[in-house]
């Protein structure tokens, strides 16, 4: 068993990967803000990740998240992108990513302290 094969480390790595993918979808939604007929796509993974937490590291690594398509159109050209919603999601995703980076760095610090055999 590797040093980072624990539930918490795997959860952090999954959060990093999935929020990066969510960011890609948001970028594409914003890019298609003026494309007639385009429908907003959102990645949700929190539910799946939470479920996998109780099942062990291997299951956590397999969480892919689910892409939901919002077909509710706000504009006459049948485009469903809301600028406010996407900007909010962008900020949320960024915060989640930064939190995950911080959590990963805490894990690394833990391992460092143990491997050096002394408190820092």
């Amino acid at each position: 068993m590797g040093l980072f094969d624990t539930v918490s480390s795997q959860a952090v790595v999954a959060a990093l990967n999935l929020s990066r993918k969510a960011e890609g979808l948001i970028a594409n939604n914003l890019a298609n803000y003026d494309t007639p007929g385009y429908k907003t796509e959102t990645l949700s993974f929190q539910g799946q990740l939470k479920q996998a937490l109780s099942q062990g590291p291997a299951q956590i690594a397999q969480v892919q998240g689910q892409v939901a398509v919002n077909t509710l159109s706000l504009q006459p050209d049948l485009n469903s992108v809301s600028l406010t919603q996407q900007t909010t999601d962008l900020a949320k995703t960024q915060l989640l990513y930064e939190t995950a980076v911080q959590a990963f760095n805490y894990k690394v610090t833990e391992v460092k302290i143990v491997s050096e055999g002394q408190a820092q």
């Binding site: 990093l16 970028a27 890019a31 003026d34 900007t87």
Partner: protein, 137 residues
């Protein structure tokens, strides 16, 4: 790895094409005769989304937007009464370009808003990549 930035840059290009068209339309808002013999026709961009690949790291994520066509407006040319103009018809009317000033201003505001939103998305993604470089530090 830099896919979100790539997606965003397609949008920045597309939105700046829209802004270019608005600028050209406004510049030609009073061009009553072009090389075709008719008044200037207002032009607008048609945007289309780029499809998501089925496999690879970007699977399921659409790849942005592209200007698929630039269309000339088929709206009728408004006419003004000016019998002294050399372009006036038998009844004394001159055909004017079908550029709608209000529509152009709305289009310009919308395009620059979308440009700004995508520029923000670019910065957000750049910050994520920079943050990733601090992993394990």
């Amino acid at each position: 790895m830099f896919d979100a930035m790539q997606i965003t840059s397609t949008a920045l290009s597309a939105e700046s094409v829209r802004l270019d068209l608005v600028a050209n339309n406004l510049a030609n808002a009073t061009t009553t005769k072009t090389s075709s013999g008719f008044p200037y026709q207002s032009e607008s961009a048609v945007l289309a989304s780029l499809p998501a690949p089925n496999r690879g790291a970007d699977a399921g994520v659409g790849q942005g937007v592209v200007v698929s066509a630039i269309l000339s407006s088929q709206a009728p040319f408004p006419e003004t009464y000016d019998p002294s103009s050399p372009l006036a018809n038998a009844q004394g009317y001159v055909a004017e370009p079908n550029v709608s000033l209000s529509a152009q201003m709305v289009d310009m505001a919308e395009a620059s808003q979308a440009y700004q939103a995508n520029a923000n998305a670019f910065t957000a993604d750049k910050n994520m990549v920079l943050k990733a470089l601090t992993l394990g530090a």
